[in-house]
Symmetry: C2
């Protein structure tokens, strides 16, 4: 495959190098897990390629020619380096490591609070978290498991439903006192609303769609503050800057801590949600399975409720 004017088959060089180290074809064969005639033939072929003898055949072994010495020096150092880096890469890979990707919101509100438990349960697994502003920004390459907000359709991948989408307005207790009570969606127009940029992630529920689902007309004149990621938006809601849409499971803890109040009367559901997604080819991977099963067992996920 290498340009035939350039290089012999590299395997020949490896056979030569072993023979040169051992000064014996039989010992080289043993090291390489093959037979002496195979080694003999390969070395001979290499000598023919180079048109120069590399060994002198002596009683019970071989001696290196000058040319042989020169070639051994280079091949020995080169193969040592190559062995080192291969060993490094294999060692690196054999320590179980998991690349997990998700968006900031999920990472911040759902995963990070639970991750210490995973680490405690599986201390040998090195988990590397890759976060993106939003699910749509996540590229699956180099990722073992991605937790994506989507419709669950991922060609060539397995998508385990983790949390189905259930959305409702949320606001801080203080904002509720100031602008409340909210007995209908129309009452919300009294307060500023917080929303994501419309091009951030079109799969996410938004105010227009929520109003529509409750058969209420959405008026564009309402005071709206826009954000380009959900964590910022949630922080603004907690700070009393407006009414936001809250995603079940993500905002559960904050509701529980009374940082936010859910307006459950106006909740909506959809078939979208968070899915634990991995490549078909990783389906059998033990680490991937371990992590996926752990995700599905968590409080706050559909299967665990």
């Amino acid at each position: 495959m290498l340009s035939e004017n350039d290089m012999p088959p590299l395997q020949m060089l490896a056979v030569f190098e072993s023979s040169g180290r051992h000064l014996s074809f039989t010992a080289a064969a043993r090291e390489l897990g093959t037979t002496q005639p195979a080694v003999s033939q390969q070395v001979k072929a290499l000598e023919e390629f180079l048109q120069t003898p590399l060994f002198r055949r002596v009683y019970r072994g071989v001696e290196l020619t000058d040319e042989g010495h020169i070639l051994l020096k280079t091949t020995q150092s080169s193969f040592t380096e190559i062995r080192k880096v291969i060993s490094y890469l294999r060692k690196k890979r054999t320590s179980p490591r998991l690349n997990v990707a998700t968006d900031f919101a999920f990472a911040a509100y759902w995963l990070m609070p639970r991750l210490p438990e995973f680490r405690r349960l599986h201390p040998q697994i090195e988990l590397r978290l890759h976060t993106a502003h939003n699910s749509v920004d996540i590229v699956m390459q180099d990722i073992d498991v991605a937790i994506l907000f989507s419709d669950g359709v991922h060609k060539g991948f397995v998508a385990n439903p983790l949390i189905s989408e259930r959305v409702f307005p949320i606001c801080s207790p203080r904002l509720l006192e100031e602008y409340g009570p909210f007995d209908s969606l129309e009452d919300l127009s009294r307060a500023p609303l917080l929303k994501l940029h419309s091009d951030v992630d079109e799969k996410w529920m938004n105010w227009e769609r929520l109003f529509e689902k409750h058969q209420t007309l959405w008026s564009p004149s309402q005071s709206v503050m826009e954000f380009d990621n959900y964590t910022l938006l949630v922080q603004a809601a907690i700070a009393g800057q407006g009414v936001a849409l809250g995603w079940r499971s993500l905002v559960d803890d904050m509701i529980e801590q009374n940082m936010l109040v859910p307006l459950m009367d106006f909740s909506v559901s959809s078939t979208n949600g968070y899915f634990a997604v991995h490549s078909q080819s990783m389906a059998e991977d033990e680490v991937v399975q371990t992590f996926t099963n752990w995700l599905l067992s968590q409080e706050g996920s559909d299967s665990a409720s």
Copy 2:
């Protein structure tokens, strides 16, 4: 062939290295003189061996992963070194070089006086002369052509007859005046005789055998001086130290220059002689043929006379 726990097939690494340089499987295939699917499969196999991705597949090419970068660095430098030494060895070999071996006597008296002509005729051929005390000391390894005194039987080699053995007593003109005339071999007993050690080369004619060939009894009581190589013996003869045996072709020039007088009445021949010997496997070698043909064309050789 390499220990399967250690190293992938080296060819895979070469394919990877080319792909990593070009960041394209198609370009690598071109360089390596093969096809894109072959490269794709080899890289994939390597990634599976290492259980880690080396490339990210992107539009119209590939990008290196971190692991890919690490591996490329090492493989690139290693293969560059290997290419360099291979190129060096091949270049070294492609400049025609001839290793010629012979004994001191032939080198001194026959070959050296003629060699300048060979160099003039074939200036591109680098001729390296290896000399030994005697023909029996010559080892054929690393030798392209050996000029040996022998019976012409060399298993696995081609032996071209160069000079057949014809031997006669020689002495200096001064010794002849002092001890001569020598009308019979018995008359030689009046003078000291010069001979080679009996264990030097049993294939060479000696006094006993010469006397026997002339049906004259050899008497051990004769004054004999022994030498362990022929060039010394000849110098002693020239210096008038005794009567020596002279080999046709070797001593011809000295006879011509009147440094030595041949006693032709007592000459003998045999089937032994000097042969130009090369390995069967070098029979087609152009340089070997050139040199051998030149030897055979020389004045003083059997075929040229």
